[in-house]
């Protein structure tokens, strides 16, 4: 039986480093520990570097969890890049309404507060005529540091949310967005890859996910993108959705209307 990527990476480390990694991995949250062992999207050299950095952070006195997160932050977007010719034309994501309101407020540099941005998002949901709000909406980042996005693998020119349930619960289930509560309101953002300036799209890795417990490494080594694991229970038997990561990008390519989805 061939060695997993994790085992191959471990094999390339010194005995001392290997032992430190193994000792620390077992005290990480179970799912994070399993994700590290099951990772397939990282090149062995990058995986070794990630594990080595993990040990460096441990040596500086950080807890295993924090050491892992810090190591991950120096190994972002190491998954394979999707070729330009194969890039989806339309991408989308769901995030918390309050999260996006805060993003708009911060990029507005005092022009709008978070509460004002929140009210405006609620007011203009479903509208294509945003008036002056469009200026502020387009300046805001689609996500912080790293944007996780999905697309429709059957036809990447269409809105990926068209094939998902329109409900808060259905969207969270399909995209594997745990921790949601009934008080969380979602916003669905869909954007044109070309109008966003063609940011590189990568297959996600365990380093991109850090300690997020709902990430699952895709078992196929050669897959060009990742897959979500729908939340359990999944009464509608929603299938895993494609997922990619890209660098922080403004909403220049955002398609209107955006949608706010209440619980």
């Amino acid at each position: 039986m061939s060695l997993s990527a994790y085992q191959q990476a471990l094999a390339g480390l010194t005995d001392h480093v290997r032992k430190k990694v193994e000792d620390a991995r077992v005290v990480l949250p179970d799912q994070v520990s399993r994700n590290i062992a099951d990772e397939t999207a990282l090149a062995i050299a990058d995986f070794m570097s990630l594990l080595h950095q993990f040990v460096v952070q441990l040596a500086s006195g950080e807890s295993p969890r924090q050491a892992w997160v810090e190591a991950c932050r120096t190994h972002k977007r190491k998954g394979c890049i999707i070729n330009d010719a194969d890039c989806p034309e339309i991408l989308g994501r769901a995030k918390g309404l309050d999260d996006h309101a805060a993003a708009i407020a911060r990029t507005s540099r005092g022009d709008l507060t978070k509460e004002q941005a929140r009210k405006l998002l609620l007011k203009y949901s479903g509208s294509v005529d945003l008036g002056g709000f469009e200026t502020f909406l387009r300046e805001a980042a689609l996500g912080s540091y790293l944007v996780w996005a999905t697309f429709d693998p059957a036809d990447s020119r269409v809105n990926p949310f068209d094939r998902l349930p329109r409900t808060h619960h259905g969207i969270c289930t399909a995209l594997g967005l745990g921790h949601f509560t009934l008080s969380d309101i979602l916003i669905v953002l869909v954007w044109d890859h070309a109008d966003s300036g063609y940011p590189p799209l990568h297959r996600p890795t365990v380093a991109d996910a850090e300690d997020y417990p709902y990430y699952r490494p895709r078992p196929e080594i050669d897959a060009r993108w990742g897959l979500t694991e729908p939340l359990s229970p999944n009464p509608d038997k929603l299938s895993p959705q494609p997922e990619v990561v890209m660098p922080e990008t403004t909403s220049q390519g955002l398609r209107l209307p955006f949608q706010v989805v209440h619980a």
């Binding site: 924090q66 997160v69 918390g96 005092g110 709008l112 405006l120 008036g131 002056g132 790293l146």
Partner: protein
């Protein structure tokens, strides 16, 4: 992820790390701002731990307000969390800090704006005098947030500030959006006067700023005129029905819900 069982000081230290993104939090998405994970977590805590967390937030605000220093991202997270917790003591401390900005030249503009934005969003609101003082200190920098602060408590006084707003299209766009949100909160009978008072001061405003605001004023005038016409039509219809059906079928009471803007037609 649980902080149950930590003592008061440990919770405060945990909170500081969590605001810096260094603690595991129940985040909806991997890139969600940390304060939202803290708010989500707070709702699941036992009362004593929740009190310690809120008290810890207050202590961190107090610590920040001593000199106004801190990494921008951390301070933004702390102040947004404080706004979510709605703690009056935090409001008082931040208001005092804002009044001292000119004595604290080391505070970055971004942090100053974060303090003022938190004050706009947090109850209880500051006085008109407070916001006018902030506005006059540096209109280029503070005008947008100061205007928001005044609009929230006294829209009529806010209109007086419009001619002093920076003459940029962006300031005009932001102002039009804020006026629109204020309009939404006004009673129908107050809206006509609000719009007309804004129209009256537009001639004193810079042209770049005035453009988007004037466009908003015109759009609202159309809404008002449209409603007045609808009400006049309803009135004519009522008169015609009365003639046709006789006096006993005419409405005995005018229902405000059916024609809320009717008084504007008078």
């Amino acid at each position: 992820m649980s902080i149950q069982g930590l003592d008061h000081d440990e919770i405060r230290a945990w909170l500081e790390r969590a605001l810096r993104g260094q603690e595991s939090l129940p985040l909806l998405t991997r890139d969600e701002f940390p304060h939202l994970g803290i708010v989500r977590l707070e709702k699941t805590l036992k009362p004593a731990t929740r009190d310690s967390l809120r008290d810890g937030a207050l202590q961190l605000v107090r610590q920040f307000c001593m000199d106004g220093r801190g990494e921008t991202a951390y301070v933004q997270e702390l102040l947004t969390l404080a706004a979510a917790f709605k703690q009056p003591e935090a409001v008082q401390m931040l208001a005092r800090l804002a009044d001292k900005f000119s004595d604290l030249p080391d505070i970055s503009t971004e942090i100053q704006l974060a303090v003022l934005a938190a004050l706009v969003d947090m109850p209880p609101p500051q006085s008109v005098e407070f916001w006018v003082r902030i506005f006059n200190r540096d209109p280029e920098k503070y005008a947008g947030l100061a205007l928001s602060g005044v609009l929230a408590i006294n829209p009529a006084r806010a209109i007086e500030l419009l001619p002093k707003m920076p003459d940029t299209e962006r300031a005009g766009q932001a102002t039009a959006l804020k006026l629109d949100l204020t309009w939404d909160d006004l009673r129908p009978e107050q809206r006509y006067r609000f719009v007309e008072d804004i129209r009256a001061v537009l001639v004193q405003c810079g042209s770049y700023f005035a453009g988007p605001v004037e466009a908003w004023v015109n759009s609202k005038s159309k809404v008002i005129i449209g409603r007045v016409k609808t009400n006049e039509s309803l009135e004519s219809l009522g008169t015609a029905l009365k003639k046709y059906l006789g006096e006993e079928f005419s409405p005995k009471v005018r229902t405000p819900k059916l024609c809320p803007d009717f008084c504007l037609a008078a």
